[in-house]
Structure formats: C-alpha cells, structure tokens
C-alpha cells in the first residue's frame, strides 16, 4: 500500500526537499523519512490498512494530515503554511 502525494506552498507551488514522515500509524513503522522531489512529490510504502498521520516539515513551516488507507494507493495534497 502506498501513501503518495504532493507538498505545495500557499501559492500552489511545489515544495522540493520537504520532509515527510509518519507520526502515527496502526502498526509500528520504520523511523525513516522521505524527502519530496523537485516536483514536490513523495510516496511512502505502508504495510497495513488503517489511519496514518503524516507530519510534513519544510524549511520554515510544518503541517500534518491524517490519511485513511484502505486501497493500494492513496493520494494526498499537503499545503505548508506560509
């Protein structure tokens, strides 16, 4: 199962190099964190269905989102505050 998506700033521009990590999950999760690519995209493999809380950190801002994973791939759009 994959949680994938894009991180953008308030103007809608993609944010490369943002740190995306799982802050809470239904099962123990590896403590590794993804970095968004040049287009602001990321994808994280998860091993079990359920509710995941993602924490996203940019250079000067942080946000979080909660994702319900019950299909093979879930798409997320996260916006870092300005």
């Amino acid at each position: 199962m994959i949680i994938q998506g894009v991180v953008a700033d308030p103007s809608g521009q993609p944010v490369p190099g943002a740190v995306v990590m799982v802050a809470a999950a239904p099962v123990p999760v590896p403590d590794i964190a993804a970095l968004t690519d040049a287009t602001g995209r990321f994808s994280i493999m998860v091993s079990a269905p359920g509710t995941y809380r993602l924490l996203i950190r940019g250079a000067n801002a942080m946000t979080e989102t909660t994702v319900s994973v019950h299909t093979e791939a879930v798409e997320v759009r996260a916006e870092l505050p300005g």
Binding site: G5, V19, V20, M21, V22, A23, A24, A25, P26, V27, P28, V29, P30, D31, I32, A33, A34, L35, D37, F42, S43, M45, S47, G50, T51, Y52, R53, L55, R57, A59, M62, T63, E64, T65, T66, V67, S68, E75, V76, R77, A78, E79, P81
Partner: protein, 308 residues
C-alpha cells in the same frame, strides 16, 4: 538485476539465524574509541547533557501542530494507535556535535533505487564502518523501481544543521551490508540492521562506539541512550534522549525514548564504566514504546565482520 544471485556483490554476508544461534547467555563486548580531539567525559549511565534537560525542554519543546490546518484529500478514520513521541517531548538538542560522543552519530541522506531521497541516522563502530537500520540500506517496495539496495548514502558525521564538522562521504551501493533475514526473507523487523563501509577511515578522527551482546539480566536494569537526526526538528540537527528499557525480546529492545522519522539507524547505547556500547539499532516507532534491533551474538559477529 536480482539481489538473490550469488554473483551479486550485495548478497548478504550472514544467513538468517535460528533461535539456537542467539546465545543470549554469552556476553561479548567490542570496545569504543573516542577518536581525535574534544571528548565529553561521562560518569553514570546517561550523557551529562541530561543535567540541563529541564531548561532544554522549555527552550526546545515539540512543535505545536494543533493549530495547523488539516490538509489534502485526507479521510479521517479510526483511532490511531502508534505514536513515535510518547507523552511530553523531552528530547534535547546537541550543539557541540563536533565533540565525542556526538560526532559518532551521522546524518544520512539516502538515495533509493528509483532516485527518491530519504533521511536516516548511522553510527561509527570502527574506522570505516557505520551501522544503520536495514531499511536504510535495502528498501522493500516489491514491484516498484524502488525495491532493493539503495543507490548511495551520503554520510555526514556530527552534522549540526548546515555545518558539517567532518565533511561528508558518499557510500556507493557496493559498500552496503545487511543480512538475508532483512533483504531476501524480509521485511522482518527482527533482522532490520545493516552497515556502510566508508572508502576512507573517517572513524579514526570521529571515534566510534563499542557494541555489546548482553544477557537479559545484564541489559534489563540499564538505561539506554539515543541520539539522532529526527525529521520533525530543524534540518540536520541532532537530538538526544535516554530512558529505561521498557521490554526485551530475543531480537528486539523496546524503550520510551522519543523518536521520529529520520532516526532510523541510531545507536541505542548504554554507558558502562565511562564507555559507550551499542546494544540495539533503532528502527521503529510504536504505540507504547519505540524499538530497535537487538545486538545479539549473530549481530555482534556481523558487526565484527563488517569492521574488519
């Protein structure tokens, strides 16, 4: 290219072990080295930085994300049961990362097979050998270009934000190590450990930690320490905490030290007679405790092999 063929240079160097190989009653220890330059002396079971933890906890509280907007196309579902930060966040930022023992810890920038990038942590166990989690060197993503040994890992000892007191070294795929229990037969968190062999003996300068295979009776009453590079803190900053051992498994150590994404691969270490010894490799965040891969006798033997 398959990772399973004998011709592959990444073939694990240690076959999966069975229970009879663990030898938990046999204690073995490899010694530490403080390297060159400044070193922080230690008495007792925790780093002296703990003495300022109350002040530091006020100055460096966990980010309050409660007022931030929920975002994206998220669907809000069932209760969440796993948290990597357990209760109040009392992690302490390390500023003198160029000193021993802090310079032993390395910030890792990992480039996976598909070009995606990840952050983790590693620690020196010898002049050229940095230990980390198995999932930092070999990513399980079956059916995707990401699956397999990562392309390379940039190792930054003692990193402090943008400052790299010992520079950085990029470790190519051929210099990565893990075991079949993680790579071929995994993912199995009981075998989630690996290593990088650096092209230069940078560890002679930074120093390294010893490591030990302790019995349950020896390990259970000890305090464990962990320092690493969590992704929820400013980029490339090092954070430390200690705790009691919450539980021991045959191949796992559980503790209540707060961790976050980016700290995979950190040393879970004890301080004994003024020296530091890794007893586990941090790897997972859990509901009531976080956990690492225990340094059992087979893990100890592989560390010795990878040091040689």
């Amino acid at each position: 290219m398959s990772e399973n063929t004998v011709e592959n240079p990444h073939t694990p160097v240690q076959p999966e072990v069975d229970d009879t190989d663990e030898q938990l009653d046999v204690e073995v220890v490899a010694e530490a080295s403080s390297g060159e330059g400044e070193s922080v002396a230690v008495i007792g079971e925790v780093e002296p930085v703990i003495a300022v933890s109350a002040e530091a906890a006020v100055a460096e509280t966990a980010p309050d994300t409660s007022a931030l907007r929920p975002i994206g196309e998220a669907t809000y579902g069932a209760a969440i049961t796993t948290e990597s930060v357990l209760g109040p966040d009392t992690r302490i930022q390390i500023n003198n990362t160029a000193d021993y023992p802090w310079r032993v810890h390395c910030s890792l920038l990992i480039t996976a097979n598909d070009g995606s990038q990840w952050i983790g942590t590693g620690w020196f166990i010898g002049p050229k050998t940095v230990v980390t989690a198995g999932h930092c060197v070999f990513i399980h993503a079956p059916g995707t270009p990401r699956h397999g040994w990562v392309q390379s890992i940039r190792v930054m000892p003692g990193r402090n934000g943008a400052t790299l007191p010992y520079g950085s070294v990029t470790v190519p795929r051929a210099n990565l190590r893990s075991v079949t229990g993680w790579t071929v037969n995994g993912p199995n968190e009981e075998y989630d450990y690996g290593a990088m062999v650096l092209p230069t003996p940078l560890g002679n300068t930074t120093g390294w930690f010893g490591f030990a295979n302790y019995s349950d009776a020896t390990l259970q009453p000890m305090t464990v320490n962990l320092s690493g590079y969590p992704g929820d803190k400013p980029a490339g900053t090092q954070w430390y905490q200690s705790s009691a051992i919450a539980a021991l498994g045959p191949r796992k150590v559980y503790y209540t030290i707060d961790t976050f994404g980016g700290q995979s691969g950190s040393a879970v270490y004890v301080i004994k007679d003024g020296s530091r010894y890794g007893v586990a490799v941090h790897a997972y965040g859990g509901a009531s405790s976080n956990s690492g891969t225990r340094i059992t006798k087979p893990v100890f033997d592989n560390f010795q092999l990878w040091k040689s």
